[in-house]
Amino acid sequence: MRKTHEGDARVSEKEEKEKGRFIFERGYIDSERIIEPEKLELGGVDMSGRWGTLVLPRTIEQFDHTLFEEVKKLPGGKNIHRCWQCGNCTAVCPVAHAHPEFNPRYLIHITKMGYKTEIKKFKEYVYLCSGCGRCSVACPRDVDPKGVMSALSILFQRGV
């Protein structure tokens, strides 16, 4: 009776593994890049499942800064444009040491450049940020990564 939210309509963990299981070098390919149709047919020929699988290329073709402009408007995200990817924030971040998937520098960079597939992969980890503020203290450019993380937490809930 309650409507679910686009942000969480994630394919459950089990299905993730299943996709492209027959690919020999499956380990090298991100799940986001595999399109495996349940039902696919052309001219009477059934190509569902393995026979219709496509693997999208990793090439980045477009830098899209719309998200980046959005973050600047959200609380805490004012100075994201100052980030020059030096990695000071990740260095002092207690969460990053415990969870390699959470990397504030990386989250800032992929949002700034608009790499949608990367954002899809790492967006759920932004909530691990405990808001301790050590990164904002350490940042040489006063980007306030803690603020940016809170802005990203909001932004990623809009469904990227």
Binding site: Y127, V137, D142, I154
Partner: protein
């Protein structure tokens, strides 16, 4: 001239309810301005209460990765203090039919609410101090954080001190206690607190939904 005549019970309750709902409304509109779902609506369920208790009250989630023990502690103080103070006030309101007169010191409920106020003070003030003492941390702190921490401190302080002063001083402290509460309720939706509450409710929602 006792507190009852100065602060009739009805006036206080009306003000508290008014500012409370105003705070909630402001909070709601601010979150909607971010164009994201307002999770507190979706959080009310038996499952999520258990998640709330486990992650917040038992500090599993809130303090987990704060390496500084003091920082986690002060946050916990504020959290518990405020929560306890809220419970005591409600209990006091329910039990005591007359106005919210300052209870005689030996009344257990008074001691409890006074202690919780003190907790809020110590929590808030230690957060404030932590930021004041470190030059770099001072530089990177935004106005809203100063505002909230200052308000929490004075709110806690006035709440804790007023029972020990009789007469005029007691009354002004008591009045200030409420003024700071209302200020806090008005300011909170525009500060980082709003984000923290929103994020907290989202995490509870996520936790309860996934395991459900």
């Amino acid at each position: 001239m006792d507190l009852n005549s100065v602060f009739p019970r009805e006036l206080v309750t009306v003000l508290v309810v008014l500012f409370g709902s105003l705070c909630f409304a402001l909070f709601y509109f601010r979150v909607r301005s971010w164009k994201v779902p307002f999770y507190p609506f979706y959080v009310v369920s038996q499952r999520s209460f258990k998640v709330f208790v486990e992650n917040f009250l038992l500090l599993k989630r809130v303090g987990l990765w704060c390496e500084e023990r003091a920082h986690t502690l002060s946050r916990a103080l504020v959290l518990y203090g405020f929560f306890a103070l809220f419970v005591c006030s409600v209990a006091n309101y329910a039990l005591n039919t007359s106005a919210l007169t300052p209870l005689k010191p030996q009344n257990p409920l008074a001691i409890l609410s006074d202690a919780s106020s003190a907790l809020v003070f110590f929590g808030g003030f230690s957060l404030l101090l932590r930021r004041l003492l470190n030059k770099r941390r001072r530089e990177v702190t935004h106005a809203d954080v100063w505002c909230v921490q200052a308000l929490l401190s004075v709110f806690g302080a006035t709440g804790a001190l007023y029972p020990f002063f009789g007469g005029f001083v007691g009354i002004t402290l008591y009045a200030l206690h409420f003024v700071f509460l209302f200020l806090l309720l008005l300011v909170a939706p525009f500060t980082e607190l709003a984000f923290l509450v929103w994020k907290g409710s989202f995490l509870i929602y996520k936790e309860s939904r996934v395991s459900a």
